[in-house]
Subunit: 197 residues, 2 copies
Amino acid sequence: MTDSMDSRRPRAKAADKRQRLMAAAARVLHEQGVERTTIADIAQAADVPAGNVYYYFKTKGELVEAALSEHTRHLEALTGRLDQLADPRERLKGLVDAWVGQRDTAARYGCPTGTLAVELDKRAEGGLDLSVGQVIRRLLDWVEQQFREMGVDDPGGLSLTFVGAYQGMSLLSSALRDPEIMTREGARLVHWLDTLT
Amino acid sequence: MTDSMDSRRPRAKAADKRQRLMAAAARVLHEQGVERTTIADIAQAADVPAGNVYYYFKTKGELVEAALSEHTRHLEALTGRLDQLADPRERLKGLVDAWVGQRDTAARYGCPTGTLAVELDKRAEGGLDLSVGQVIRRLLDWVEQQFREMGVDDPGGLSLTFVGAYQGMSLLSSALRDPEIMTREGARLVHWLDTLT
DNA sequence: GTCTATAAACCGATAGAC
DNA sequence: GTCTATCGGTTTATAGAC
């Protein structure tokens, strides 16, 4: 590490700023919603000059997609860790634990992916995007795989019920501003998993 | 009905236009979302000149509240009809039927109240509104009352699970653009009601 | 009461200096 | 690559004619 390197490595800066912008977009868009968030909001949260954002992302839509890919990345990391558990039932319980662990955030801003889906659904007119649907689809598929390994009937249907319960409890928790809904419904989901043969 | 009456009854027009604006607001805000809907959009849907809207509603926020009260009115009308059924279990099944009957709308735009709650949650900063929470609370209370009349344990918890399931299946149905999710999960809810003692 | 014209503010995106 | 200044379009809300 020489002094000259500090001035000669603006290459690393670009990727760094881009990453900061992606993380800021994921957080701010979740908290404020897509339509109420300005480019300036995201730039400020990322500590990047406002006009400079357009060097990294040509449109606001690209920033939204970047935020979505951040959420995907977090989901993959979580399921990746859970995959190391031997029992598929324990993997699903671990997923519930992770959801309940985020209860304060859920009670204030809802599920990041779910609330983003609600907003993007109303953006698409004719040519719908559906990229957010793919993220949810990926979660549904992973959950379904766990049910399949458990050997239960209709793993696809159970996956819909399971993920739907999470989306529903997140929405109610935020609408009523009550994180304990997450705790209560999470415990119910865990108990439900134990009743499945 | 004389010709003179047509020109001499502007009194009825005011309430009429106001009602048209409320209905249009409820529909358009549901379809397009709060932030993407302009006053002009609502005025056009209500067949009222754009600038005239402000005579009836001072701000856009008042139009949002008006839309919310429309949803409340529809909900009260529905539960009012269901209250005429003798069996509380049948009332809840009737509620599920009504939800499934709206599956095409749900698959495209989600639950009117639920999606509105998601958007309004992100509007409130410090002084939160929570008026949408009261509408959901009213539904939760009605459902809880049915469970209580059924004599089951923990009617409040069951109500959260029941309404949460509806919100979750509406969100998944719209995110995946699949109305059959409403049919499938609705049938599951009905079966679940039958398993309760 | 009804409607038009427009003010005032805001935001996404761009041009261009450095 | 980085940043500033600003354009152009849109939207809320109001002023005021009818």
